[in-house]
Amino acid sequence: DTAVSQTPKYLVTQMGNDKSIKCEQNLGHDTMYWYKQDSKKFLKIMFSYNNKELIINETVPNRFSPKSPDKAHLNLHINSLELGDSAVYFCASSQVKGETQYFGPGTRLLVL
């Protein structure tokens, strides 16, 4: 009955590789988000989609590309991974844009 799920939970990879993180929500929400939480636990928004349309695109390197095949899914693809990309990435969804967010369990990315 998981509301927001992410795969994989852990991702360890080499610098320069390309990887994807998947997110799915079964709450029927129209808006989905990707957040990055760094080692200092600061949670920062990266992208937001509303009904498959990109509505927020923060200052994020072009190597990060979100894709929303339908409103229940928001995937994150990262090209040419760098050491500084190591962090926990959270997917979230909300019924109303910007309001109460429901978070996934996070994907712990470690770039070696």
């Binding site: 927001v4 808006t31 988000y33 200092k40 636990k41 600061f42 949670l43 920062k44 928004i45 937001s48 509303n50 509505i55 927020i56 959270f90 979230a92 844009k97 910007g98 309001e99 109460t100 967010q101 429901y102 978070f103 996934g104 369990p105 996070g106």
Partner: protein, 112 residues
Amino acid sequence: SQKIEQNSEALNIQEGKTATLTCNYTNYSPAYLQWYRQDPGRGPVFLLLIRENEKEKRKERLKVTFDTTLKQSLFHITASQPADSATYLCALEASSASKIIFGSGTRLSIRP
């Protein structure tokens, strides 16, 4: 630019006492403010949302106040228990809506 501060990085209190966490913001007037709880290795979980026209909101042992004059929210946990130990994040609606901005969090520890 919008700024949000949670004054204490960490707070330790005795079980049974009331824990009070502070969230201050500058440079804009959000329509609402939210509080989340985050346990280690997990995503944030929504606790309460308070709107600008509400002075106070309660949910069981939790109470949130919102003072738009002081630009401050206080989050109280009464009769605190060790199980309340977690990081608590406040989040504000950004001036360009559709997203929220998170504070850096306060790590609360309740000792038996």
